[in-house]
Amino acid sequence: MSRPSLLWKFYIAAFYIFLFAPLLVVAVFAFNASPFPSPPWKGFTLEWFIGTGSVFGKPGVLMDPIWLTTILNSLKVAVPVAVLAVVIGTVNAWLLERAEFPGKTLFAMMMLWPLVIPGVILGISILAFFSRLANGLEDFLQTDIDGLRPGLMLIVLGQLSFILTIATLIIAARLRKFDRSLEEAAFDLGASRTRVLRTVTLPFLSPALVGAGLVALLMSFENFNTTLMLVGSDPPLPITMYGQMREGATPAINAISLLVMVAVGGLASLFALTSKGDR
């Protein structure tokens, strides 16, 4: 294309303003000394972060056990999801890129499927199936298995169902770039299979492993649709936020959102740093 016209440039600028406007207002109104996250500006305050509740009737998010437990719940989901996604994703990537077995094409197709299923449907189908499974096991074992009922365990499984696909794709992409003669060379030089894995293959994959882990962490942290259907008595962050938003927005939600943005920004730049070593 030849030189961009002024109109085009103007459009680009407007677009980026449009893109950041919602995030900006969320961040700004977290510091507004008003019980509502809306104009006019009533002065700067940190009350919504560290307030004790004496000013607006609600404590700041860092002092409020509701927010702290919900963040803890999110971590209880996100960390196992990330760990499992990386471990199983690595195995899956190996199957995709290295192994030969009948039905491999079908397997590769099936693996992509979860990305095409709307999150709500993933949620309800897992809820319905595990409910039946739990009922069946209960009749059989005469005991109820908590993990199969709505709750953190089921959320982990529900999120894993599609995050695994993404983790697998990230790791498989890196594995595809791997020169297999490196492994053969190590083997040829006398290394055992496990030593080859430890000293050559995993170090090569590590940027993708860290990347997949971070992506899984982020996706788990922000997942809403699937989680909503599987939540039990301990809601992760997006569910609590949703509940509070339906109750009517308060700057406390802005404050927690800003914290989320900062955390996500941090993780994303960590990801950018690790994937730079990729090239």
Binding site: D188, A191, T199, V200, F204
Partner: protein, 361 residues
């Protein structure tokens, strides 16, 4: 050269489905020998090498190293090390760590391994490179690291899988010589795979020419060049003129062949009943300004220069002559009366009967 054999391949067959990639190959390599396997891509030479290294199992036959059968011995237990086509240097390790890798795998202590690796790097001319990243090396240096990484393990046999393929021409010429020198210095047995006949001819003590899964001929570079045993070897090793025609007469090994366009040529070899192939090296073709300057060569013709292919010492001429459907190729004379000859100039050319190899078609 010692008479003990380092490597012995006995009737090895490798079958992939119904396709025989390696079809009954036998040979042996003596201690300290530089042995090359030369063949076009897809001839099975890489499969053969991978069987020696231990990455593939032969369907039948035996592979012996120093008299010990290697069947069932995994690659990491064989006294064989390989220099890969891609070199396969570990990008996540330094040069020194690359060289020390095999030693640490054997349980040599870290300090001892480092010491030996440093010494080995010195011997291959990479003193002080131990802490560099392998990505920071030039092509030739990487080559030497790959070889050092094998040699430090003092293997019985080093396998090299077209390691010069990725280098540019100048460096490749240089590395050919260096490889040969390294091999002589360490006196380690090298088995070298290539599709580049000049690499094989320059470096090897002996060469096996491989085609479609089997060996066509095994011999010294000179034997292969001067006395090819099969039409494949004759055409694959070195530049050559190749014609085919009807067998006109044959007595003993002297054969007369009539080319389809009418010319009659005489050579020596095994004629076919009806059709024969004949090969003449460009350097065997004598050139002259008149009939007389060709002396008493049995084959004498007259034609015109159709092209001058100037390439320094490898320059050649293409000559169109009545009776030949393809132009004849000869070495361009760069001195004497024919120096400076141009396209379209009339020329006389010919060769002796002994210079033309004849095979049954």
């Amino acid at each position: 050269m010692s008479s003990s054999t380092d490597l012995e391949i006995i009737n090895v067959i490798k079958r992939f489905g119904s396709y025989n990639a390696v079809d009954g190959v036998s040979f042996s390599v003596a201690q300290g020998e530089f042995f090359s396997i030369l063949g076009p891509s897809g001839c099975g030479k890489t499969t053969l090498m991978r069987m020696i290294a231990g990455f593939e199992d032969p369907t039948s036959g035996d592979i012996r190293i120093r008299e010990k059968s290697m069947i069932g011995v995994p690659a990491n237990r064989r006294p064989v090390n390989m220099v890969f086509q891609s070199l396969a240097l570990f990008p996540m390790m330094s040069v020194g760590e690359n060289v020390a890798y095999g030693l640490t795998c054997r349980g040599v202590s870290r300090a001892e391994a480092d010491k030996r690796a440093t010494r080995m790097l010195e011997r291959v001319g990479l003193k002080g490179f131990g802490d560099r990243r392998v990505t920071a090396l030039s092509g030739g240096q990487r080559q030497r690291v790959a070889i050092a990484r094998c040699l430090v393990l003092e293997p019985t046999l080093v396998l090299l899988d077209e390691p010069l393929g990725a280098l540019d021409l100048k460096l490749r010429e240089h590395m050919k010589i260096e490889l040969k020198q390294l091999q002589a210095m360490f006196n380690t047995t090298f088995v070298y795979i290539t599709h580049d006949q000049s690499e094989a001819l320059v470096m090897s003590d002996r060469i096996a020419v491989m085609n479609q899964g089997h060996f066509e001929q095994v011999g010294s570079p000179r034997e292969l060049y001067n006395n090819p045993q099969t039409p494949f070897v004759a055409s694959f090793v070195g530049e050559t003129n190749r014609w085919s025609g009807e067998t006109a007469s044959a007595s003993g090994d002297a054969v007369t062949i009539r080319l389809p366009s009418g010319a009659t040529v005489q050579g020596k070899g095994q004629a076919g009943k009806a059709q024969s192939l004949c090969f003449v090296r460009p350097e065997a073709i004598a050139l002259g300004t008149d009939q007389a300057s060709l002396g008493n060569a049995a084959n004498r013709f007259e034609g015109r220069v159709s092209a001058v292919l100037f390439d320094g010492a490898n320059s050649s001429l293409l000559i169109d002559a009545p009776g030949f459907e393809k132009p004849a190729r000869a070495v361009l004379p760069q001195a004497g009366p024919l120096a400076g000859i141009g396209v379209g100039a009339p020329i006389h050319f010919g060769w002796a009967t002994d210079s033309m190899k004849v095979f049954a078609a």
